[in-house]
Amino acid sequence: MVCVLSLVVSSHSVSAVVTNIDRTDLNGNLWITASLRNKSNKLLDYIETAYHDGVNITEHSEVVPIADSDIGQIRYEIALSLADKTKLFNDYTAVSVSISGITQHVDYMNSAGDLLSKNIEHTDVDEVLVHVIYTDNTRSQYTVTDCLFDDISGARIVLDFTSDKFEKPVQSIFVQLRTDLTKILPSDAEQVTMQFSLHNSEVKIRVKSKSEFIEEEGLEEEKKQSGLLATISNKIQDVFDSIKNVVSAILELPKKIGDVLLEGIKNLFVPDSDYIVSYKDKWDELLADKFGAVYEVCNIVIEFFEQIQYSSTTRTIAFPKVSLASAGIPFEFGGYDVKIIPDRFASVQGSCMIISGIACTFLFVNGLRKRYDEIMGG
């Protein structure tokens, strides 16, 4: 039996995913590993914690600083083997995150529910998502985790996690929510997602069965809309959403027009690369056709210069293989390299390169000057 508890803190619209592994070593220590990755799959944080008999015996490992630009949605998942629960844990594992340069923590709850909260300090946090995932029907034994927000309007948010088995009850608005949630949970519920939006105090619950989401329900703080009122509310919400879409489309219009204009101007003046290649081929074909032998000789000479250009600079002479066997003469020579400068004189070669490069530049400038005089001087 495995229970996975995950916490998602969202401040923008991008996402990061955390994977998790749990294992028990030969000494009976339960290891919990969590890695935090951003949307580019870059490792932001890596945490490895070991528990023995419910006691944390390690400290957090290295924490990689998270760049502000990477922060969008941070998600932690901790997998806890319930098979080891009896000797290591008597209850759930809780996870909390602080983001954007604030120190982050991972903490776990014990059976007494002593450790049930951690602080998340981030001014942009506007949504908190809690996942409780069951891989089998253990919901009767382990009920959905609850959360508690303190000081919702401020920058400081406190999340409390608990379950039915905790001795200390949670006094929060979500007591009611838990009741409602229990009602809608199907027998094969595999995953329950609670989404708390701090801006409009809305709570959304999604229940997932073994294969797919089978139910979705929206709850408001402390009261659930139902019947006709809910339908009207949904319709109004749909209308608002449509208006919002239209407005955003209108706002994006100038940018789209600009893009189209730019693209048009670009197409008007700049030919595409495929055309340039085909145009060059056309010229090659024309010149080869018209100049015949002259063009071919030119090509051979160009190839010769290309070979020189990419000649080896490894202080060796490459002797090409010369064979007159085809002419009936038993003569063969070459096919090997000869070192002309020992490796210990490599610096001398480098100096030669620099000096000759400078000399070539002077010659080039002089050549340009002469041609300038020729053109401008008539």
């Binding site: 197409n267 024309l286 250009q309 002479i317 530049t361 020729e374």
Partner: protein, 90 residues
């Protein structure tokens, strides 16, 4: 589109100008000998590459060559134009 049109125009003009020219192709044997000779020569000349930065030299050489070709092309076109009596260019 405009650049494309210009390039096509240039190509068309040159195609017309080169219409009477039809030089024969190089015989395959000769071309083969040429290639072989160049293949043997290139490593020999390539020794220079151990002391002179060839990419730099070739770049400079290419620029100078392009300028020279441009000058000679200009002179050639001028020579052709001067041959047309109707234009009256001296």
């Amino acid at each position: 589109m405009i650049i494309k049109l210009l390039l096509e125009l240039i190509f068309g003009v040159f195609s017309l100008l080169l219409l009477p020219i039809n030089l024969p192709a190089l015989p395959a044997t000769v071309a083969n000998y040429f290639s072989t000779a160049m293949q043997y020569l290139a490593p020999a000349v390539g020794i220079v590459a151990n002391f002179v930065p060839m990419p730099v030299v070739m770049t400079y050489f290419g620029i100078i060559l392009a300028i020279d070709v441009g000058i000679n092309l200009y002179k050639f076109i001028l020579w052709v134009i001067k041959k047309i009596p109707m234009l009256g260019i001296e």
